[in-house]
Amino acid sequence: MSVSLGRNVFAPRVAQKGDCLHHFQSRRFIRSSARSLTYAKDLFLGKVNKAEVFPFPEISKEELEELNQLVQPVEKFFNEDVDSKKIDHEAVIPPETLNGLKELGLFGIQVPEEYGGLGLSNTMYARLGEITSLDGAIAVTLAAHQAIGLKGILIAGNDSQKAKYLPRLATGEHIAAFCLTEPGSGSDAASIQTRATLTEDGKHFLLNGTKFWISNGGWADIMTVFARTEVVDKDSQKKDKITAFIVERAFGGVTSGKPEDKLGIRGSNTCEITFEDTKVPIENVIGEVGGGFKVAMNILNNGRFSMGSAGAGMIKRLIELTSEYASTRKQFNRSLSEFGMIQDKFATMALNAFVMESMAYLTAGMMDRPGVPDCSLEAAMVKVFSSEGSWICVSEALQVLGGLGFTKNYPYERYLRDCRILQIFEGTNEILRMYIALTGMQYAGKILTGKIKEMKKGNVGVVFEILGKKLKDSVVKTVDFGLTGKDGVVHPSLTESAKMFEQNAAHFGSTVESLLYRYGKTIVEEQLVLKKVADVLINLYAMTAVLSRTSRSVSIGLRNHDHEVLLTNTFCKDAHFKNNFLLTQLQKNSPENNDANIKKIAQEVIAKRAYVCSHPLDRTF
């Protein structure tokens, strides 16, 4: 199948409709070339750059039509030709299925058309992700291939590298893998031990080392490998730096271990890869020698956003399956769906799917804007929110079926196992929370340092200014970022939610300031504080996404937009109170804060390396 997609996806047209959005449309065009503003980072300063996130990004009508043309066959393929149960059971994706995926062009979704790919934008990639996620193993195989495996060549490779490798990767003739993790180095890249040494003639690198948990490791032909290389820096001192290489299996010396037997995504191939004197020509260095860090970071930071749409796709399918069951199954002469606790589960699923979807497409849209957008923070937030939301929703869906859901006759247990990995790979959620909070803290800290120092010195002027502001804030309860009102970007039906968001955003800004005042750069060590900061920010971003999306939906009159309004108001209220609680916990000497105790419990348990308490049946006499 070949669908012609003659679109330059890097300049999607932002067509905007709706009266209340008009004002910002004109402003957007003025600075569309150079994007200097950021959204999530500025929230740390208590600023809401509404221009970044309002209106909700759109794709043009033509793009949408093409996308729909592409989506239909893919959907059909996944519904008819993919036997997920068999893939899970036999722990291998059958070759026919793989060929089908290749024919659909799913191995080169984001590879430009000139290299034989589909050349789709991030937004369109996210849309396809909704469907591929129906089978976890296939989704992971595809993601390992193109979201990280060949992404290095795509974003940092030179033209000859692209010309040499991309065409065959895009068709799926060659499969790519991303080799970063090592036995002794999970998230800590500094301990990468794989080494590349330059040969005598200076034309090759000899690669030696072992990489762990490589998705597609068993069948990948092209690998992006990160290794230590010796680099002479400007002080003419020799130093080890990380370099990225394109390694073909054909170079020799590459051996794959036995595939790991996993809890979920069993059909995907994960194994260990060992390089033994693999000869890599120096043309195959991605970027420059010693520049591997930036490459790895860029690949990882930009690959995550699609998890939101993938999770949403999965939950949408689960809602269909479970609501069918809940409506037909009778208990006490009433159908299951009439019970409040069952309804609660469906509401949870709908809310989560809605929020994930909104966050994913908002982020994808931001990434598709011209310029070099830095959406790594947003992408990380999408990943954290959607991986945790998926886990909860799948579990709830299974719960609706009760014992049936626990059996292998239904797909729920498989979904549950498959989606557990979402919280682990591409940076565990803990690490991403650290990333989210610390990146923002660094950004805010740079700007606030001067002010905080003045305060600490006891500069009367600054202190009074701050006290005055605090007094004003406490007297005048309303915070106004201009989301609502005359020139507002949020639809009036969402005013209340928007106000809640504004309140939280303002409170968050002042909390960040006080945290910086209190901890300074030692905040790196305060992981429990950072976790709360990240959680508040994720909630804020989620609120933004739903407000923006629903405003657009209402304004252009999408079908069932009233339901979206309902979901938005529900979610925002919920998130508002959660945020309030978290922000209260972040205050100094807050009685709600249990961190000291939590740390102490953990320390005592870990000192013993066992559960500390005596058995309740024990006696002393």
Partner: protein, 463 residues
């Protein structure tokens, strides 16, 4: 099983007595004569029986020992009653000192006279002799001793008796018995309580003592987070393993047995003892040792004492002097690997010019005293340099760098082998003394033992 019921019974009797205003025991108890306190040969019936004496009972027993005869003699010759009860034990202990022997003495005393004449003195004597017989930690023996007291007799029967110190000597003796239990960390059990209630009544001093013990003992039972068992392993390797893990409070630390104790016979027919060598080292210590500057020596020092209750063991350290400040290498800080925006997933440190606020700085101002690192510890069967160098060469297998480091042995002239209780407390002078006068050894050790016993008399709350 019987004990709580018995307790209840006593309380009932007390109630009835109070209601009726006269002693009812005589009426009730003979009917309940079948109710025996566990572990005791006596019952109320026996108590109340008129002057039949134990001689009759003892003749009915199949074997009459020498001991019993002496007791009988004593009983018959009442004018000789000044003979101390210590003598009873001394005589019983002539051939062996075991729990059975001790119990026999107590039995004989209980049987010989229905009135239990001189029981207070007997109990005091028995208490004193308990450690000798090795029963000082045996709750059943204490209960048996307590059972020697006649029942019911010392119970106050009216308010005046209750108000004043009724039978003070007996009560004091009971308290003394409980105190000895307390000192040895023995927790009374329900049987003790039943006996006390039968002997002294519910609100007597010994009962109060019992209640106090039962209040505090359970609370303090686990006060020591590092308990030492009463019976230490007899195998020196096991003992060394226990002691070393006790010193090195690190779950990662690994015990290595470099040599098991054995005896070799050389070609010339000489017996050569190969002492045990047991060492402990944690991974951190190993990596520290690997980083040690080979120009600076390491020291093998010891022996240092470690007391485990009454036993003293000795250990040796492999340590070095503190690294002088000019040699300290700052941990290489690689901005590429660690810097903000650089590490793969999140910044390891923030590039900010802000320190922690004073109000949130809960660190204590501590003056750190620089100490040299301790690289490993060991215990060995012999304290000579040869044995310890075997340990060092054993360590070299995991830390090859040790081969290049000069090793200095700084050994005190300590004991040559694991010490037993008796010689543990000897000073070097005493050691010389014992070498000279070998005949006096038993007596000497006796003295030391008494010394150690006096140490033990201090309150000890960890059973």
């Amino acid at each position: 099983m019987n004990a709580p019921r018995q307790l209840l019974r006593i309380q009932c009797i007390g109630c009835i007595a109070r209601i009726l205003g006269k002693p009812v025991q005589r009426v009730i108890l003979p009917t309940g004569a079948h109710l025996q306190t566990p572990g005791s040969q006596h019952n109320y019936g026996q108590l109340l029986r008129p002057f039949h004496c134990s001689a009759v009972c003892s003749t009915s027993r199949p074997s009459r020992t020498q001991l019993e005869k002496t007791v009988e003699d004593e009983t018959l010759n009442k004018d000789k009653s000044l003979v101390t009860h210590d003598d009873l034990f001394e005589r019983a202990a002539r051939d062996s000192k075991t729990k059975a022997d001790f119990n026999r003495v107590v039995d004989v005393f209980s049987k010989k006279d229905i009135r239990r004449r001189g029981h207070v003195e007997f109990i005091y004597a028995a208490l004193k002799k308990m450690p000798e017989f090795g029963v000082e930690r045996d709750i059943t023996v204490y209960n048996k001793l307590l059972d020697v007291f006649p029942k019911e007799v010392f119970m106050p029967r009216n308010f005046i008796q209750r108000m004043f110190n009724h039978y003070p000597r007996q009560q004091e003796c009971g308290v003394q018995l409980l105190e000895q239990m307390e000192n040895y960390g023995i927790m009374p059990n329900v049987e003790t309580k039943v006996l006390l209630a039968q002997i002294f009544g519910e609100k007597s001093h010994p009962m109060r003592k019992y209640q106090r013990i039962m209040y505090w003992f359970p609370k303090f039972k686990h006060a020591n987070p590092f308990p030492v068992p009463h019976v230490l392993p007899s195998d020196p390797v096991e003992l060394a393993r226990f002691s070393l893990t006790r010193i090195a409070d690190d779950l990662d630390a690994k015990i290595t047995i470099y040599q098991y104790p054995s005896t070799d016979i050389t070609e010339t027919g000489e017996e050569v003892m190969r002492p045990h060598i047991v060492g402990i080292q944690s991974p951190n210590q190993r990596s520290l040792l690997a980083k040690h500057n080979p120009c600076r020596p390491v020291f093998v020092e010891g022996p240092f004492p470690l007391w485990l209750r009454k036993t003293c063991v000795h250990y040796y350290l492999l340590r070095a002097d503190p690294v002088p400040s000019e040699e300290k290498v700052e941990e290489e800080f690689d901005p590429e690997m660690m810097g903000p925006e650089q590490s793969l997933f999140y910044p390891q440190r923030l590039d900010l010019d802000l320190e922690r606020d004073m109000g949130d700085d809960f660190r204590f101002d501590v003056d750190d005293v620089e100490e040299g690192p301790v690289y490993a510890m060991c215990m060995a069967g012999q304290a000579d340099q040869v044995t310890l160098s075997q340990w060092i060469s054993g360590l070299q297998e995991t830390c090859p760098i040790l081969g290049q480091i000069p090793t200095v042995f700084r050994l005190d002239s300590g004991p040559r082998e694991l010490q037993t209780t008796s010689d543990a407390q000897q000073t070097p002078e005493q050691e010389v003394e014992t070498d000279q006068i070998t005949e006096e050894e038993p007596l000497h050790s006796q003295r030391v033992k008494q010394g150690s016993a006096s140490v033990l008399r201090r309150p000890r709350v960890y059973p």
